[in-house]
Amino acid sequence: MTNASEPSGQPQPHISPTSTAVPELRTAAHSRRAFLFKLSLYLNGAVGAVLAVPILGYLLGPAFKKDSSYKSWISLGPISNFPEGETRLVDYRNPVTTASDGETGNVACWVRHIQGNQFQVFAINCAHLGCPVRWFEQSKLFMCPCHGGAYYEDGSRASGPPERGLFQYEFSIAGNNLMINAGQMPTLSNSACLKKPLVQIAPNSSIQDKEETSWPA
């Protein structure tokens, strides 16, 4: 670019010949254009801020949803399916699913029928890192295949890395049906965490408080 391309008719009062050779300096000297350019930046900044609101709202939408909005009472079937003194695996369809969930919308849980109307419904997810625990009738233990967490038949911690017992669902009996309040993957940070994690981990302490002390109503 040379000076020759510049329209010669326009007045350029404050520009020295050397500065006109550099396009940036030439623009800077045009205070009106520089101002308009700055203004356009602010304008785009404002538009960006307006646009950011719905984008952030869309992105953070799931984060602001309350736990309770996902949960609802669903039936696990008639009580007669669960013989007294036994712990059985039950599958249910998550109350909230989407069209693309497929088989991941199915959830398994362990139902322990103690006696009469006394039940315990355990989440399948280990309280350590969420792997599926398996029930062993003979040794009356739940064992986790991932890092070796083990739980007693009442869900209290027996050994391994979990810092608490198994997650439990709230249950109720409606007519002849066993109902649970379910809807989301239980983790240490949501309402599945009915009992606070043990602060003191003593391997044998769980035997003493084994008797069914804290059932969610």
């Binding site: 998550n94 699913t97 989407t98 497929g102 991941t104 940070s189």
Partner: protein
């Protein structure tokens, strides 16, 4: 023929006149490189870039068929493996390319670290490299999720469980990660977006800046012991070196990069042909709980660390350690931007690499056979060694049955078969007395559950009788030292059962 050649030159000239790439490319490729840096040690960065290109290309090809829907992803992978011509091969190349890329990026990082190449003026190149490593690991993890099988499903569960431990905002973060209340369609969709758009975009952009900075600052010279990097003198010294002795990057150094890149690509192809694609393993049905999920190779060490951490340390460790490690990597060039480059003058650096490499290898090795996990089928599947049953009383044999039936074998090995969570029981009676065994079985402790509620008195008696026969290669049975003392009368307790006592009664 000459006419054709002329026509090609003309067409090239037509484009070059309009695009103008030739000048910058010629300049970049001929940039002077220290002759010592035209080395086989300097080929890993370019190999990582070539692998990135391979991953982009094969990834796009896989996306032609893959269905990013939780209900259909697994089936579309089976379709790719079995019904699409050479679909299995493309999956295998993408999978092995991923493993190779993680490995090469790590090797590149170690080389740069040991050669002091992160020092002035290449600090920012290193810092961007750290983010490139994180992106590469991010691609490996999200890629494992897209292989939407049992391992991916429960791997997401592990991820969500870890995220849930974040103080205060753990719950919202889990919902952000999963996109909903459970691992499902929206979870896969967002990991698809991360794996296909977000992280590759970051990776390509940062790799471009990374390469640009290498061109801009020049390839690191071969470090020499005693040649100190100083901000005051380095630029002049480097300029002197390259202007006096420098060789053009192309072809003097580039041919080694090209040969190594070709060798790496051939290795990826060979692994793909020999070992085939990764999975998918079982279908991602959460009601199928007969599974032992495991992460991919690059994350096995984390799997092991999570098994060995004491429970009360786990949450702090999970969130403090990554910040410390990544922070240290980012701050390294800013803190140690000058001084010695040569590894022989940086013993701490060499020691760090050695310790980290050994640690990661050991944890990875442990995670390949997970000694901390109970073997879920050992109790019903592993036979009791016949030597342990020969000549035993009915009660002892009954005890052997109890041992199997109560799943003891899931954690305890007999004759080399069974779980490794607890100690092998082959010589248990040589280590523990009968009283100790009874106490341990009934009350547990030392990371063993208490079996008091799961064993009847008869079962306990039989089990202990059997365990008391297990003395390895006829070792002498364990004795309780206090028994000997009390029986010998050393405690000055009158005893009628130790007539041979050598201590005279007072």
């Amino acid at each position: 023929m000459a006419g054709l050649k002329q026509r090609v030159v003309n067409v090239y000239g037509w484009f070059e006149r309009r695009v103008g790439f030739e000048g910058p490319i010629r300049e970049a490729s001929a940039h002077p490189t220290p002759p010592t840096s035209a080395s086989w040690w300097y080929v890993f960065g370019s190999a990582a870039t070539v692998l990135l290109m391979l991953q982009v290309a094969t990834g796009i090809l896989l996306a032609l068929v893959y269905t990013a829907s939780a209900g259909e992803a697994w089936a579309s992978l089976q379709f790719l493996n079995h019904s699409i011509y050479l679909g299995w091969f493309l999956r295998a190349i993408h999978g092995w390319g991923s493993d190779f890329m993680v490995a090469i990026v790590l090797i590149h990082m170690v080389q740069v670290f040991l050669f002091g190449a992160y020092k002035y003026p290449r600090e920012l190149t290193w810092i961007i490299g750290v983010f490139l490593l994180l992106c590469t690991l991010g691609m490996a993890f999200t890629g494992q999720v897209l292989r939407f099988d049992q391992d991916a499903y429960w791997g997401l569960g592990i991820g969500a469980s870890i995220v849930s431990r974040v103080p205060w905002i753990g719950g919202p973060l889990v919902h952000m990660m999963l996109g909903g209340p459970i691992i499902g369609g929206q979870t896969l969709s967002r990991f698809f977006a991360l794996h296909v758009f977000v992280i590759p975009g970051l990776l390509l952009a940062m790799a471009a800046v990374h390469v640009w900075m290498v061109l801009h600052l020049g390839v690191n010279e071969w470090p020499m012991p005693g040649r100190i990097v100083s901000k005051a003198t380095y630029d002049r010294e480097y300029h002197e070196l390259t202007s006096k002795q420098g060789v053009p990057f192309v072809p003097d150094a580039a041919w080694k990069d090209a040969v190594f890149a070709a060798a790496i690509l051939l290795s990826v192809i060979a692994c793909a042909l020999l070992f085939g694609p990764f999975g998918p393993s079982g279908q991602p049905d959460p009601t199928i709980i007969q599974t032992a999920p495991k992460p991919d190779f690059a994350f096995l060490w984390i799997y092991a660390v999570l098994a060995y951490l004491p429970p009360e340390l786990e949450t702090p460790f999970l969130f403090i350690a990554p910040i410390v490690v990544i922070g240290a990597m980012l701050l390294l060039p800013l803190v140690a931007g000058e001084g010695e480059k040569h590894w022989s003058r940086r013993p701490v650096a060499v020691l760090m690499v050695a310790v980290i490499a050994v640690t990661l290898s050991v944890f990875t090795h442990l995670a390949t056979f997970t000694p901390w996990s109970p073997l879920m089928e050992a109790w019903s599947g592993d036979p009791t060694p016949t030597a342990y049953l020969k000549g035993r009383s009915p009660l002892e044999r009954q005890g052997a049955l109890v041992l199997q039936d109560k799943q003891c074998r899931n954690c305890h090995a007999l004759g080399g078969a069974g779980g490794m969570r607890g100690p092998a029981l082959d010589a248990i009676a040589a280590r523990m007395t009968e009283d100790q065994i009874i106490r341990q079985v009934l009350q547990g402790g030392g990371n063993m559950p208490a079996y008091g509620n799961a064993l009847s008195p008869a079962e306990t008696r039989a089990l202990v009788a059997f365990l008391m026969t297990l003395r390895g290669n006829n070792l002498s049975p364990a004795t309780d030292a206090s028994h000997t003392i009390t029986q010998s009368g050393a405690m000055r307790i009158p005893s009628t059962r130790s007539p041979q006592s050598s201590v005279p009664s007072p």
